[in-house]
Symmetry: C2
Subunit: 141 residues, 2 copies
DNA sequence: TGTAACTGTTACCGGTTCGATTACATAAAT
DNA sequence: ATTTATGTAATCGAACCGGTAACAGTTACA
């Protein structure tokens, strides 16, 4: 396993909540659909709750629901909630400031990589959770 | 150090080669500008050579040069050369096929994440190495 | 010819991230 | 009280990355 699949699982979780409106789902039940451990689900639910996308209640009959309607939750909201944003991945050690390339490459790279990341996020921003559940329903029939 | 900075270093290396046209640079010299180990540089040069972006000659007076002009090398070329493309990061374990969400979420996710990745790559594809070195020169004055 | 310079590749170490798992404190319904 | 949940910390194994040493192969040149 190479990269993080937190985003994929978080969208999965949010889709489950969106298709069970008004009903609180437990981390155990969600884990059964995702096919993973309930603690993994709770960690992601915790991140989604901190971002204000999900509300959880504890105790018996507890569980989680969406904090707002699926039309008003974008995949970028979910992505930002569960994946850390460390900015573009630059050199570990600062390049040689005595070299004309070395002393300027990072600022140039940041500009380009930020633009590329913004283009990616624009796609996620214009895709709503409601569109995802719509596509899920369309795939069923 | 969390993520890979291979792309950043590879663009750095390519910029050095682009600003020394016709002159073969050694991995030792390049490592001095990048501020890292020559083997790290050679690993990236090897990947760039396999992608046909760089030509290297061995032995005394050896070194590396660009295999084509900086105007005809895009940052996407460099990105594809040094960073593995594993496709979108989906679930480790396959989701539960007995669940309507679980059995369809991955195909829906692939469509969205592929679109997002394509948007990012479009930015890198329209940025040439020549533009990078132009920005480097502009930052100098 | 032989030596110095340079590439190409492998192997290994130390640090970090990730998912899975166990454990346990806390909270709420009945 | 007991049961059912969440919330969170700790730990484990696997994977990836950058740095480093080691070494084989190649080329220029004295």
């Amino acid at each position: 396993m190479s990269r993080s699949c937190k985003f994929a699982v978080a969208v999965h979780i949010a889709s489950l909540l969106a298709t069970s409106p008004g009903q609180a789902l437990t981390s155990d039940w969600i884990a059964g659909s995702v096919n993973t451990n309930p603690v993994v689900v709770r960690r992601l639910l915790s991140a989604l709750a901190k971002a204000g996308l999900v509300a959880s209640s504890r105790g018996s009959n507890g569980g989680s629901t969406l904090a707002r309607s699926p039309e008003r939750i974008s995949l970028l909201d979910i992505h930002r909630a569960v994946e850390a944003d460390d900015g573009p991945a630059l050199h570990h050690q600062p390049p040689n400031p005595a070299c004309p390339v070395g002393r300027n490459i990072q600022s140039v790279l940041v500009r380009v990589m930020d633009r590329a990341e913004a283009a990616k996020e624009a796609v996620l921003a214009t895709t709503t959770l409601a569109e995802v559940t719509g596509a899920l329903a369309a795939a069923e029939k």
